[in-house]
């Protein structure tokens, strides 16, 4: 069957098997490999993308179900060469180590801040509780999301010690 998905603002049309998972459509058909696959059972959340503006686990959505709809992935966060504040926050606060869960975490974080621009630590922990990170013990992910919230609120953010090479 033919499926057309608006992926980060660009229509992607491909002939697919009806059973093809959205995560595989994104990775294999559209060639965007920032969205990862980790568990098959909807537990790990490394495959989280937005479907019509809401975070979903793309290993549990068929590509066919996303036909005619909009999907946003980690590659769609950076706008006009400018990183999204959640991406900056993860860099500033060491919110990632191996980076495998990061794309899913970033998408959930962006959705949270759009919905709740000033979340508490508990609200952040609730928001990411459907996703696993094996490296960070979550502490710095929480801090990263808070950093992004504060930046977007125009509040105080931690002083960057970013060396010159850590730039786009």
């Amino acid at each position: 069957m033919e499926v057309t998905i608006n992926l980060n603002g660009t229509p992607e049309t491909h002939e697919v098997e009806p059973r093809l998972l959205l995560v595989h459509f994104i990775r294999e058909k559209a060639g965007l490999r920032g969205t990862h696959w980790g568990c098959d059972t909807s537990n790990c959340g490394t495959c989280v993308v937005w479907l019509d503006g809401k975070p979903v686990k793309s290993c549990t959505v068929l590509a066919a179900m996303a036909d005619g709809r909009s999907v946003r992935t980690v590659e769609g966060l950076e706008q006009g060469g400018q990183l999204d504040p959640v991406q900056e926050g993860f860099m500033e606060c060491h919110g990632l180590q191996c980076g495998f869960c990061t794309p899913g975490m970033l998408m959930t974080a962006r959705a949270l801040l759009d919905d709740n621009p000033d979340p508490t630590e508990t609200e952040i922990r609730e928001a990411i509780s459907g996703q696993l990170c094996r490296c960070t013990g979550y502490e710095n992910i929480v801090r990263s999301v808070r950093w992004a919230a504060e930046k977007e609120q125009g509040g105080p953010v931690t002083e960057s010690e970013t060396p010159a090479e850590v730039t786009a």
Partner: protein, 791 residues
């Protein structure tokens, strides 16, 4: 451009990670992201039985699948001499089963198809006629007279025994125990767990039929060791093998060994003449790749009535699964378990370890354990609490009374380790101060009055990392020294090549900082190349917290070689004697005349120029080194955990976790803290929820993340970290390594806290994981065996 810093970063301290630039954009390159022209996809058929004879395999339906190119079985491999491969512990493991399957999930056949979905479809079309055999699921029954012999493939193997090993002085220890006022014994299980990195294992093999060169993209923590093993397995010339470990989505020891799937992708590429990708799914990963622990320990502790610990005696039954594939230095079949004397000044200690085969997946040394130190620390820290329980002593005070004192370093333990440096009481006191220990005890007493269950758990650990000195340590005969190579280009930009491989630790950043610190170069000007055997010098890889202690040392020393050579070049440039020069920041300058000097960048250009150099001095500014560590390094720490236990359900809430770590000099404190955070979450997971259990037929009961529970953001508290810094005296920059400290130290703090909470119920010990059911069972006098689902 997001940020620009005025002062270039040149040394130790918090600096953001180079890796993150790609990773936050979704531009990492993990194995499953590798796409090669004409690439095919492989999938494995795995055994549904834990132990069964294979009567026949019918692959005809799979071969008839229109998108299938080849189906490979053990019989095919046998013809090629590839059915078995060596393990890292001098055993062999079936690549694809020929005679029998020996654990559930074992590899039986490999399908190569045009796409991943078709490969998986075709796997389902293979018919195998199995004849189920009796199963050994319980290590304690492995040596029973009527136990089936699992490894009947091995000549002369008549039972399930693998090895006996001991450490310490038995007679001396027995004498101490015979005369001790107090002796307490406890059976302690460290159940089987799985590291479960979020990225499963996989590889893409690309055998060039023209040049005969194999390129293997693979999830490897040890690319150089892997290359050598592939040369041994497949008989391929080692120079025709290039192992590339691209970005790795977490390793934790799981990606040290070689799995049949990797080998099959290579075989598949040889057979088809095209690149073959194999990436396992989560169930395959949890069922078949390297597990950790599975140590059944009986500990005995001897002490005086007033709490002076005299000795420790331990007997271990080690479940190694169906193939002995633990990854550890050859001389140490129980890893570094003999560091079980912990952080205490003892009169005597002795341990015996017996390894056995069972019908479970192979592995054993994985999951940030520093070669079994996790088990050792858990044992000793549990035993100290057991003693405290019997003596009605405060566990923190009891530890303080027995810790090795700062003036005793270097300290040689009763099992032969030479601890390099430490100030243990200072770390414990800091943790107690941060926790507000006395206040917590008061609060606990008040809560107990009200019938509420609150627990405070203390654990102290000493790690032994940075394996290791070549004369003691090798894996498969490969000595554990690491190379490093540093080139300074004419314009003063540097490329460092190292053998270790990040799986999230941030090597690209910290190793650049080490060079920056030595040469005064901005870290922005230093590129770190790793994870490619064609591009980097030999070394044994990243595990056992060895990257900083071994390759970090190599990096500092190779940079110092550059500095020494730069001095000669500078002396030629300035027309002075090298002896008249002194190093300042990033330049050699004339003593007493600092205006006269040359920066490292100026020197680099001159070294590549036509400048006349002294006789025997080669041009350019390059150096290589191999670092052979003189000793291990010994990080340590004091952890305190506070929990609340629900009396009605046995549910545990970790309220606080205070962690004081001393890993010597911290290169990048931000990264060190991140490493500790992750390990603390592991401790909460292992103590409270993670276990790979089996039923009596050997069925694996944790084959998905619905069954194998990992801690989420809700189970983890906000970590409270503290630090002391005791540099390693023998490491060039005084660093000790920290990657596994928290995983080693934290499980026992959580367990001790839970058991402290339920002490009013007369519970002295209960095994991990302390799930609500396990806690409730312990409180109600019905302890459960957590590793077996046997009614």
């Amino acid at each position: 451009m997001t940020t620009v810093e005025e002062r270039p970063h040149t040394g130790f301290g918090r600096t953001l990670r180079k890796e993150d630039v790609r990773l936050v954009r979704g531009k990492g390159n993990y194995v499953d992201d590798v796409r090669l022209p004409g690439m095919l996809h492989g999938a494995l058929l795995r055994s549904p039985y834990a132990h069964a004879k294979i009567n026949s395999i019918d692959t005809s339906a799979a071969e008839a699948h229109p998108k299938v190119l080849a189906v490979i079985t053990g019989e095919t491999l046998k013809g090629l001499g590839l059915a078995w491969m060596p393990t890292l512990s001098y055993d062999v493991q079936a690549v694809l089963a020929t005679d029998k399957v020996r654990y559930q999930g074992q590899e039986v056949a490999f399908v190569i198809a045009e796409d991943h979905y078709s490969a998986r479809d075709a796997v389902e079309l293979i018919e195998v006629d199995y004849e189920p055999l009796p199963v050994v699921a319980d290590a304690k029954k492995a040596m029973d007279a009527d136990a089936p012999v699992i490894r009947d493939d091995k000549e002369g193997q008549t039972n399930n025994h693998i090895f006996d090993w001991e450490s310490g002085d038995q007679a001396e220890t027995d004498a101490v125990f015979a005369n001790a006022e107090v002796v307490v014994a406890e059976d302690i299980l460290y159940p089987r767990v799985h590291p479960a990195p979020l990225e499963t294992c996989g590889s893409v093999a690309d055998m060039d039929p023209v040049t005969g060169k194999l390129t293997l993209y693979t999830t490897s923590q040890a690319p150089h060791a892997h290359r050598t093993v592939y040369a041994l397995v497949a008989g391929l010339p080692e120079h025709k093998i290039r192992v590339i470990a691209p970005d790795i989505g977490g390793g934790f020891g799981n990606k040290v060994g070689i799995y049949p799937g990797y080998v099959m992708s290579i075989v598949g590429s040889i057979v088809t003449g095209k690149p073959v990708k194999w990436v396992e799914d989560r169930a395959e990963h949890l069922m078949s790749t390297a597990f950790a622990r599975d140590y059944h320990m009986r500990g005995e502790i001897a002490a005086t009535k007033d709490g002076k610990i005299l000795g420790l005696r331990v007997k271990v039954l080690a479940d190694h699964g169906a193939f002995n594939a633990t990854a550890q230095p050859t001389k140490f079949p129980a890893g570094f378990f003999h560091v079980f004397t912990g952080s205490y000044d003892l009169q005597a200690a002795h341990c015996t370890v017996t390894g056995v085969y069972t019908n479970k997946a192979p592995g054993g040394v994985a999951y940030a354990c520093s070669f079994r130190i996790t088990e050792a620390v858990y044992l000793v820290e549990r035993m100290v609490d057991v003693l405290a329980y019997e003596l009605k002593a405060d566990p923190a005070e009891l530890r303080m009374k027995n810790l090795i004192q700062p003036e005793q370093f270097p300290y040689t333990t009763k099992t032969g380790w030479e601890y390099d440096s430490g100030d243990y009481p200072k770390a414990l006191q800091l943790a107690m101060d941060m926790a507000g220990y006395d206040e917590l005890r008061k609060e606990q007493a008040e809560k107990r009055e009200r019938g509420e269950l609150m627990g405070i758990g203390v654990a102290f650990f000493t790690e032994a990392v940075g394996a290791g000195p070549r004369k003691h340590m090798d894996i498969l005969g490969l000595g554990m020294a690491d190379g490093a190579e540093l080139r300074i280009h004419p314009t003063g930009k540097a490329v460092l090549r190292i053998s270790v491989k990040t799986q999230g630790q941030g090597h690209e950043t910290t190793f650049a900082q080490i060079v920056g610190n030595e040469l005064g170069l901005p870290t922005a000007d230093i590129d770190v190349v790793h994870g490619d055997t064609d591009q980097t010098p030999f070394g044994l890889g990243t595990y056992g917290s060895r990257s900083t202690p071994v390759s970090g040392a190599a990096t500092a020393l190779v940079a110092r070689k550059i500095r020494d050579k730069a001095r000669i070049v500078a002396s030629a440039m300035l027309e002075v004697s090298p002896d008249d020069l002194e190093w300042e920041g990033n330049r050699w300058q004339v003593k007493g005349d600092p205006e006269q000097g040359k920066t490292i960048q100026e020197i680099a250009m001159a070294a590549h120029s036509s400048l006349e150099l002294p006789e025997g001095v080669e041009g350019h500014l390059d150096a290589t080194t191999v670092y052979n560590p003189p000793n291990l390094t010994y990080p340590f720490g004091a952890y305190i955990c506070v929990v609340d236990v629900d009396k009605g359900t046995g549910g545990v809430k970790v309220r606080r976790f205070i962690a004081v770590d001393d890993c010597g000099v911290r290169i990048n404190p931000m990264i060190v803290e991140g490493q500790v955070h992750g390990g603390l979450a592991d401790g909460v997971g292992m103590a409270l929820m993670q276990v790979i259990a089996f039923d009596e037929e050997g069925n694996h009961l944790g084959a998905s993340f619905m069954d194998y529970l990992l801690p989420t953001s809700l189970e983890c508290p906000s970590w409270e970290l503290g630090e002391t810094v005791t540099p390693s005296p023998h490491h060039p920059i005084g660093a000790k390594g920290v990657g596994e400290s928290a995983t080693v130290g934290s499980p026992c703090a959580v367990v001790n806290a839970v058991l402290d909470a339920i002490k009013p119920y007369g519970v002295r010990h209960a095994d991990m994981p302390l799930t609500p059911a396990a806690v409730w069972g312990a409180m109600n006098g019905r302890p459960i065996r957590t590793d077996l689902a046997i009614p």
